[in-house]
């Protein structure tokens, strides 16, 4: 039956009672009421559900919650707020880098994981890092500009 799982989400200890094989996505969205990570495919193909676990961008739709036990889970809510956005979030706002925005969580989180490792990532590296994140509205050009802008700020 349900197990007690302890997670560190956006810096806070959170305890949930769920089956250990429950995908992290549903725990974040439904138990912790964090909206950022989105269900897109449930197959790890589109990236809409991306969160950062111990510094790595992972697909929360196919990441069992038990594997996140004791690890640091960062969601888009943990990066910043509307009033105090993270540089990546602010860059997406400044570049108006969204249409429907359903994929944008994944774009922001994947880019953040990359820029935290390498703020000076080249345009080509950004494209490669985002190669597994799908956007259907065709906002790619703006997303690339936003990531470049955020990288500049984070490199300072």
């Amino acid at each position: 039956m349900a197990d007690a799982v302890e997670l560190i989400v956006n810096g806070a200890r959170r305890r949930v009672r769920v089956q250990g094989d429950t995908p992290l996505l549903y725990v974040l969205r439904n138990d912790l009421e964090l909206n950022g990570a989105k269900f897109g495919c449930g197959l790890g193909q589109c990236g809409a559900c991306t969160v950062i676990v111990d510094g790595e961008a992972v697909r929360s739709c196919s990441f069992p919650v038990a594997l996140a036990e004791g690890k640091k889970v960062m969601t888009i809510e943990g990066l910043g707020t509307i009033d105090k956005p993270h540089p990546v979030q602010r860059a997406f706002i400044d570049e108006q880098a969204a249409q429907c925005g359903y994929c944008i969580n994944g774009m922001v989180m994947t880019a953040t994981a990359l820029l935290q490792r390498k703020p000076t990532a080249s345009g080509g590296e950004v494209r490669q890092a985002l190669a597994g994140n799908l956007c259907r509205c065709g906002t790619h050009a703006r997303i690339l500009r936003a990531v470049a802008r955020a990288g500049k700020e984070m490199a300072q």
Partner: protein
């Protein structure tokens, strides 16, 4: 100030002030007259806006946010016409209990219809408030130059002022619009024409509640649906005993071949749905058409032939050369990133449905029919979902949620489709065939032109007079029939959208071969038939230009009589650094495409640079340089965003996309089966906006689709010498055509 009211008013606007004239009766002719935009069908002013005593304004629109930025643009319009700060405005959109019925948010018509209605409604409301202000201040009848700043009416002779909010209690706006008061001229606008940042983006990048998927209601349960394996499969046996025992499962619903499950937790609902698959046995049906011969198959079905344009009579003129070509476009998916989702709750016999439908009123009509409920007992409220680009699963999932909610008592249920549901059951953009014929005269000009397009309908949306256009309704034990396939008439057209050339030919005949039979479910996908028709026309124009030995840009201009068309083509060519007679067959090429969307909306031209890999045949679009004229632009950044998005999406359709199917069903059920353009493949994009503030705003959101497709095919032809006429321009096809 003694000039007559109307000219005074015009003068006042020109200098940024307003005049008031008491006892302004609406002109009598206005009563029966057609009103502008959606005002015509929704005539009450307070149906569009309310002035609240707390210093706020509520603006109502029947159009909905789909990620295109419409609510930001409409807010700009209302704020500008009313002279209030945008922060005072709350936008209410797409709610059958509150907003005007504006049908569907489709066809790039929201600025034209809702925006125009709001401009006139707000202009009239402002004048009514000005009159009310004069009365409130006890001023004698007369005319005064006054000004409004953020809802405060000032500039009266004695220095008094009064606010909209003080006047709000007087129900001034509960009356029919007359449209007797002109919206502001371009020079008086402060917000329209500026790139106001989108209202919705901050929440979307910080994890705010932004989508229907983010809604939570007290006691909410999670539902999932198990569809048949294909359109025709019948349920032979079903044993839900084990599923009912699964953890968290609250209900299993079977109605005919509609199967649903409801659970406490989302992952429990998903697991139960997977288990339902083992619990159900379906008949084996081989009901889909042959995939390898789909165009011939469709052309073999009964068709209604409609000649939609005919010019020039008598026998065909003598020709220096004639040319014929046939183009095809496969079934194409909307492929929304977020699968369709809805919430429903049944309480005291009344149903509330939260939905990302493009049309809450038409959806309500079909829900009422499907559920045998009075329309008055149903409220549909729009909440944003993932981008849709046309008629996807949004409406269908609303009925799914309603069916589950009805079975649950009063607990709300949220249903989201799984990825495979979305790809397997959405109504696709129809497969199409376009055959063109032309004759060139001795001067290399087109003397004769024939266009034949074979296609299904391009709209099977809900809300038709007959039938029910919601998926689950067809699967119930007492099934409903879908509505009769309908033609969208010219000049907008459906399958024949943009089939009538904008070019000026002395002689032409355009025939729409409308195929009512739909072996695969289809409906509206961005640009409708305009995508394939423009792809064909603009490819063919390049082929004819080559026959005439004329540069493709020059060849187009020689056949155009429309200044604005001229201007966008020249702007795109100029910004791209277009040069006539660039050598071809080098592996790199460039091509141009142009259209005036629907022949009624935005003008768009795009120059594409492409590279073709000799070994694989893979086409890479490296750059797209576009120009667009959408008349008066409300939000330039929003227009550019839509145009960039259209170019990228059309590049994806054109290079990669086709729905996969075999005789027993749709086989492209995930992103591996239906790949779309990815970051490494996305071109650099440059969009130039030709703003025309004195022209009316034109729908622009779909303008890029057809021109981009043709520009790519033309660039590939330039790069390789091979003309590809079947979409998508997949590597194996390019390789076979270009490199044998």
């Amino acid at each position: 100030m003694t000039a007559p009211a109307i000219s005074r008013r015009r003068f006042g606007q020109a200098v940024g002030a307003l005049t008031i004239a008491f006892s302004l009766a609406p002109p009598s002719w206005a009563e029966a007259a057609k009103l502008p935009g959606s005002l015509d069908k929704n005539r009450m002013l307070d149906g569009w806006l309310r002035i609240n005593p707390d210093g706020t304004v509520t603006v109502f629109t029947g159009k909905v946010e789909l990620g295109q930025g419409i609510l930001t643009a409409l807010e700009q319009i209302a704020a500008d016409e009313l002279d209030v700060a945008p922060r005072r405005i709350t936008m209410i959109s797409g709610d059958t209990a509150q907003t005007p019925d504006e049908g569907f948010t489709s066809g790039s018509q929201s600025i034209e219809y809702s925006g125009t209605a709001l401009r006139y409604a707000c202009a009239e409301a402002r004048q009514i408030l000005l009159d009310a202000a004069g009365k409130r201040l006890g001023l004698p009848h007369g005319n005064y130059a006054v000004s409004v700043e953020d809802g405060t009416i000032g500039g009266f002779p004695d220095g008094k002022s009064v606010t909209y909010w003080e006047l709000s209690g007087d129900a001034w706006l509960h009356r029919e619009a007359t449209a007797g008061f002109a919206p502001k001229p371009p020079e008086a606008l402060k917000l329209i024409g500026t790139s106001k940042p989108r209202l919705d983006i901050p929440a979307k990048v910080t994890g705010g509640v932004a989508y229907i998927q983010d809604m939570r209601l007290p006691g909410m349960l999670f539902g999932r649906i198990l569809r048949p394996p294909n359109y025709a499969a019948q349920l032979i046996s079903f044993d839900d005993g084990r599923v009912k025992q699964m953890p968290g499962v609250v209900a299993v619903l079977r109605d005919g071949r509609f199967l649903g499950v409801v659970a406490q937790r989302e992952e429990q609902a998903i697991a139960a749905r997977d288990a339902l698959r083992d619990a159900a046995r379906w008949s084996d049906e081989q009901s889909l058409p042959p995939a390898d011969n789909i165009y011939q198959y469709l052309k073999g079905l009964p068709a209604e032939d409609h000649v939609v344009s005919e010019k020039g009579a008598g026998p065909a003129p003598s020709a220096r050369a004639v040319h014929d070509a046939t183009y095809t476009r496969p079934y194409t998916a909307h492929a929304s990133i977020g699968p369709s989702c809805a919430l429903a709750q049944m309480k005291d016999g009344a149903l509330t449905v939260w939905t990302h439908s493009q049309g809450v009123f038409p959806l309500r009509r079909d829900l009422a029919k499907a559920l045998a409920l009075d329309e008055a007992k149903i409220r549909c409220i729009h909440k944003e979902g993932s981008g849709c680009y046309g008629h996807n699963g949004a409406d269908d999932v609303a009925l799914d949620a309603a069916l589950l909610a009805r079975a649950l008592g009063d607990r709300p249920v949220k249903v989201q489709w799984m990825r495979g549901d979305e790809f397997g059951w959405e109504p696709f953009g129809p497969a199409m065939t376009v055959s063109l014929h032309a004759a060139l005269d001795d001067h290399g000009m087109i003397a004769d032109w024939t266009h034949d397009v074979w296609t299904n309908t391009h709209s099977t949306r809900p809300g038709q007079k007959d039938g029910v256009n919601l998926l689950a309704a067809w699967h119930l034990a007492q099934p409903k029939s879908p509505g009769k396939p309908e033609i969208i008439p010219q000049p907008a057209g459906g399958g024949d959208r943009n089939a009538v050339p904008l070019y000026d030919f002395p002689r032409q005949r355009v025939t729409h071969h409308f195929i009512p039979g739909m072996p695969i479910r289809v409906s509206a996908l961005r640009a409708l038939g305009g995508y394939a028709n423009v792809f064909a026309i603009e490819s063919f124009m390049d082929e004819l230009a080559a026959l005439a030995k004329v540069d493709p840009v020059e060849f187009r201009l020689r056949h155009l009589n429309d200044e604005r068309a001229f201007a966008v083509i020249q702007a795109a060519a100029k910004h791209a650094g277009w040069q006539a007679n660039l050598p071809g067959r080098t592996g790199r090429g460039r091509g141009i495409g142009f259209a005036k969307y629907k022949n009624l909306s935005a003008y768009m031209a795009v120059v594409v640079d492409a590279e073709v890999d000799r070994r694989s045949g893979a086409v890479r679009v490296t750059r797209a340089t576009a120009a667009i004229d959408a008349g008066q632009v409300v939000n330039p950044n929003g227009l550019i965003n839509q145009t960039e998005g259209g170019i990228i999406q059309a590049t994806s359709w054109t290079l990669k996309e086709r729905v996969g199917f075999d005789r027993s069903g749709i086989v492209s059920r995930d992103w591996q089966g239906y790949p779309i353009l990815t970051f490494p493949e996305v071109p650099v994009i440059d969009v130039t906006v030709l703003d025309r503030p004195t022209e009316k705003s034109l729908g622009a959101g779909e303008a890029a689709q057809g021109p981009t497709a043709a520009a790519i095919a033309n660039a590939v032809a330039h790069a390789t010498g091979a003309r590809l006429r079947d979409l998508p321009l997949a590597p194996e096809r390019v390789k076979a055509a270009a490199f044998g």
